[in-house]
């Protein structure tokens, strides 16, 4: 969006740069301000190098970052994190900290592959993953809500159960911790949806002459666009992700259920007084986190067509990254998606760097970049205000 599109609202009539400045720097600590400033400067200089000195090291890095394949990988890697983060928002907003998202992703990833293998359809596979993840989330909900377990320890247990169960079942069924390969999700162009699949590959056939950017060759189709082309040639999970983010935002902010979820986490007593069953709201919220994480986990495995269960499995900490993503996004689904794209983008960049071998970088250390970024982000911006009743068990006075 350029500043020309900006329509000043009644509440804030200042210019966009001023508002952006406030948004970025106002009310932040020195350390946060300097980190934001350095990040901005780094991004700007990277763009400058990319435009004016494409042969330099920074210029080549810019080329890697703006490659269509990098965006494609970012979107693909965002899916499990974003879905898990959405699930985490619902659970935590309702007052149940679901630290077992990683486990839900793992069990959904394995079941997604197994169900696809049995039924032959990736969509049934996706459904299977959702069912498995929801069942595990139901177990977690019962343990936390009914039996008042410590939520953190129960969440860890969910993670460790899935971490043991998925490779165990894989060994039982496939004779190895890695499953056989099954079908994967087709991309939009291959899906053969009437109109849509043709539209994205349809030749646009015009040339844009923009003042600053220069000549944009739009001879090709939407799919062939530089960088943004990946948006039009992703698998269904990517579009599901965008839909889920919008739907979650709407549910949380515009529906009665959303208000109940928030009240259940902030002031369960008030919700109870208003005649809404707090336990039921929390059950639904935790089950919803199971459904959402299930889509994410199954989509992760079905994007590759195989479940790999060695060590931390193919999920590899994505469930925990999701927690940081929604904290960084301040429990807002859109914010969570934005921070998810940041972490997934870093992961995509390191994968591209490894694959292209542009720079002689040690792969083992590059691999740690997303994890270290998560720690830095958590340390600098993780001081979000938890819902006041998060982590606490609630007992209605009438239940006893």
């Amino acid at each position: 969006m350029s500043s020309a599109d900006y329509v000043p609202s009644a509440s804030d009539v200042r210019a966009l740069p001023e508002r952006a400045y406030d948004r970025l720097f106002a009310g932040r600590s020195r350390v946060q301000q300097s980190v934001i400033a350095i990040t901005l400067a780094a991004v700007l200089s990277l763009v400058a190098f990319g435009v004016f000195a494409p042969e330099s090291t920074a210029g080549r890095l810019f080329a890697v970052l703006t490659a269509s394949s990098t965006l494609a990988a970012t979107l693909r890697l965002s899916v499990p994190i974003a879905f898990a983060a959405l699930g985490g928002i619902f659970a935590e907003k309702s007052g149940v900290i679901n630290i077992g998202l990683e486990g839900l992703l793992i069990i959904a990833a394995f079941t997604g592959i197994y169900a696809t293998d049995v039924t032959g359809s990736v969509w049934y596979g996706l459904a299977g993953g959702v069912v498995a993840s929801t069942l595990l989330a139901a177990l977690f909900a019962v343990v936390c809500i009914e039996f008042r377990a410590d939520q953190i320890i129960a969440g860890l247990a969910v993670w460790l159960i899935a971490l043991g169960l998925a490779p165990f079942l894989s060994s039982v069924i496939y004779g190895s911790k890695n499953t056989d390969s099954v079908a994967t999700f087709p991309t939009l162009t291959d899906m053969g949806i009437p109109f849509v699949s043709e539209f994205v590959t349809w030749e646009l056939g015009f040339v844009l002459d923009l003042p600053v950017v220069g000549v944009l060759d739009l001879q090709s189709s939407l799919v062939g666009l530089p960088f943004f082309g990946a948006l039009f040639d992703a698998g269904p999970p990517v579009y599901l992700m965008f839909a889920a983010v919008a739907l979650s935002w709407y549910t949380l902010n515009r529906t009665a259920f959303g208000r109940w979820v928030k009240a259940s986490g902030e002031n369960p007593k008030a919700l109870d007084t208003a005649g809404v069953n707090v336990h039921r709201v929390r059950y639904v919220a935790v089950l919803l986190s199971g459904v959402l994480a299930g889509v994410g986990g199954a989509a992760l495995a079905l994007g590759i067509g195989q479940f790999t269960g060695n060590g931390p499995t193919m999920v590899n900490g994505k469930g925990f990254i999701a927690i940081v993503a929604y904290l960084f996004g301040n429990y807002n689904p859109v914010g969570a998606l934005a921070s998810t794209m940041l972490f997934a983008g870093l992961d995509a960049t390191q994968l591209t760097l490894q694959a292209r071998d542009v720079f002689n970088v040690p792969t083992e250390l590059v691999r740690t970049i997303p994890y270290i970024t998560v720690i830095v982000v958590l340390a600098l911006f993780g001081r979000t205000r938890l819902p006041s009743a998060a982590g606490d068990h609630y007992e209605s006075g009438e239940d006893e």
Binding site: A149, D150, A154, L156, A157, G164, P167, V172, I323
Partner: protein, 419 residues
Amino acid sequence: MGRLVRASGFERFLISASALLLSVLIGAVIVLGAGRMTSCETAAYTLAFPGAFVTQFVGGDALFAMGFCYDPIALYDLLFLGALGDILNDPTNGQFATTIAETTILLFTGVAVAVAFRAGIFNIGAQGQLVMGALVTGVVLVYVAPPLAGLGVFAAVILLPLGLLLGAFAGGVYGAVPGALKAYADANEVITTIMLNFVATSIALFFVSREQFFKDPESFANQTVSLPDVAMFPELVFRARDDVSLLALAFGIAVLVGVWYLLRHTSFGYDLRTSGLQPDAAEYGGVDADRTIVSSMTLSGALAGIGGAVYVMMVLGNFQPGVPSYGFDGITVSILAGNNPLGVGFAALLFGILKSGSIVVQVGSDVPPALVGVLRGLIILFVAMPEFFRMAGRKFGSFHQPGEQPVATDGGTGGGVDE
């Protein structure tokens, strides 16, 4: 967590024992279920119940008897008794030696997690701290040990404590990082320690996969140069090839007692425990909460790092990436022991048996040894829900005397006696 800490010792024991029993039962169900999902020539285990029940009415053979490819009873026999080997005739047999070795390392990771838990901190990063301890010990001793090798026994007297100190230092530093992040930046330690586990694995792989750093140039595998024998724990009673040392075990038990004493009878231990139980009260009482967090995480990391040093100097003899999940098992050990350092000893032995038994299972049956990972999670889940057992106890009587206050419900009655 408060509820776990507050429950009385006896109740905690009952809860752990019931959790263990229930996990084993559910594990058996999972094994039976898994046995239905795979295929085999003849059923290893036949459940006659539905068949016999039906045939007594309709006659004929046990038509509906269910056959299972895995036999849970034989499996648990291998898992629990197999880990002991032929202990009556040969107390130093190889399998039992493995059990002791696993137990020894779990003592350290278990007590590491327990110390942090007592301070109200979830140290999920014992794995990473152990890896760092093992890496630094393995790498530094390679340079220090050869010049001292001529000294014989005296070399061991210098090298063993040095190795343990190196492990403690590396693990302590690596544990202090999430501690400081929690204390001064409010970063949730569960997330940071898990992230640091990933980072530790990558760093270790980086250093031992490159010859310009610490990779053994004569080996195809990614590993460091082997340590000379003087830098290894002496095997004492056991055979040398079994990679186990009673000296290391004794040291581990001494550490448990030391930590127990530290927590119970020193002012640092008192500060640490009150911070875990009542952070606000502790701060009011003059405890520097931030410093307590950092120092207890440093201590926790150091203990896990010592575990890594013992792993290198007792089991491996060098450093290799792909360290088994001692850190995660340490969480289960600590939770099962009610975060009591002395209880860690028994829980570690139990898990040592499970880990060693899983090898017997791998050799002696078709059941994948990954089952132990499932049991690990189940045990944590059940220990985390003491209320479940209390409810069950109330239903079937005898668990609580009638009229007694339920122990520490969420209203914070705190009726339980702390130890």
